[in-house]
């Protein structure tokens, strides 16, 4: 028997969710939770409470609004639109976005970084800090592109902007990252 692909699971589960099936909603949650949480976590520079709040908020909204969807193609776009809105709204409400403390590596390190040696852990910390220091609009675009393989068209819908704007934000955002991480990233890439 061939296991159901993510896409098959997603389309079927979305349909079940629309019909009010809580188990199906849980399956949908399981499918997307880590990406949503990761995007939020890196957006807020490792702030687990903020990331948890955003994740909860997004999925609660999804639970009440899933009836609007007709097909899988629309779903990711809508989901990540909510993620983007929740992140940027929360960022606006926070007192100081520019001086967020760097949350300890141990608090947020996933299994992959636990395997890294100290040098790699330091690079990861620097990358997280560089991402968190990006202007929010660049930050969310960069994270959405990295954590989910949305097309620029989908990202444009999720971010309420044109594809050209998506491209521009990604170009500038990545360029800023590279400037801030010069030497660090180049040496790790070689």
């Amino acid at each position: 028997m061939v296991p159901l692909s993510d896409r098959e699971i997603s389309a079927e589960i979305i349909e079940s969710c629309r019909l009010g099936d809580r188990d199906a909603f849980r399956a949908l949650y399981d499918l997307y939770k880590d990406r949503v949480y990761s995007i939020s976590l890196y957006f807020f520079h490792g702030d687990q409470a903020a990331a948890s709040d955003v994740t909860q908020q997004v999925f609660l909204k999804l639970m009440t609004g899933i009836g609007q969807f007709r097909g899988d193609a629309e779903f990711s776009t809508w989901l990540y639109r909510m993620v983007a809105n929740a992140c940027t709204d929360a960022a606006r409400r926070r007192k100081s976005d520019a001086v967020l403390p760097d949350h300890p590596v141990e608090a947020i390190a996933g299994p992959a970084s636990q395997e890294e040696d100290y040098a790699r852990a330091q690079i990861a910390r620097s990358v997280r800090a560089a991402v968190a220091a990006l202007p929010p609009k660049f930050r969310i675009a960069v994270l959405l592109r990295y954590f989910d393989e949305l097309s620029y068209e989908q990202m444009a819908k999720a971010l309420h902007c044109s594809m050209g704007t998506v491209a521009s934000r990604l170009s500038r955002g990545h360029k800023i990252l590279a400037e801030r991480l010069t030497g660090l990233v180049r040496s790790s890439a070689e």
């Binding site: 028997m1 296991p3 159901l4 188990d23 299994p111 636990q114 395997e115």
Partner: protein, 149 residues
């Protein structure tokens, strides 16, 4: 990684303590609609890496007084370690399913009599080894004399 290693050791200890075995159930236990038409489902327990367990099964039956054997395709469900057995044996006669599995160095077996309403839990036997021919014959005899139902 360290936590993972400790967990793996703990699990290994658990495996040694509890032993590799099967747990039978009706299809609803699989939580998988692909199993709805299954005769029954089962899961492995006490196996450190369920996805690597080697599982096989046959249907053993008595049809018109003759012992028949049918190789079964044991189907993996979406959850690792959970399998479905579908009715691949004829409608006539009395049948049971003989399961066997290995996980690392451990073995397990099960003799699962089949009745009109599905597998007969009360008569099913879970073994710490693949069923022997004598055990299968005894179970078939019990079935055909009405003792297994």
């Amino acid at each position: 990684m360290l936590r993972l290693g400790i967990a793996a050791c703990a699990l290994a200890v658990l495996v040694l303590a509890e032993g590799f075995t099967f747990n039978l159930a009706s299809p609803v236990a699989s939580q998988d609609f692909h199993a709805k038409a299954a005769a029954f489902v089962f899961r492995t327990q006490g196996c450190a890496e369920p996805a690597k367990a080697q599982i096989s099964g046959t249907a053993e039956g008595i049809v018109n007084g003759v012992h028949k054997s049918v190789a079964l395709k044991i189907v993996s469900m979406s959850k690792p370690g959970v399998y479905a057995v579908y009715r691949e044996w004829p409608a006539e006669g009395e049948w049971l399913v003989n399961l066997k599995g290995t996980c690392a160095d451990a073995s397990a077996g099960a003799i699962v009599p089949i009745g009109p309403k599905g597998f007969i839990r009360e008569s099913s036997r879970i073994l710490q080894h693949p069923a022997t021919e004598a055990e299968i014959d005894a179970a078939l005899k019990a079935l055909t004399t009405g003792g297994g139902k």
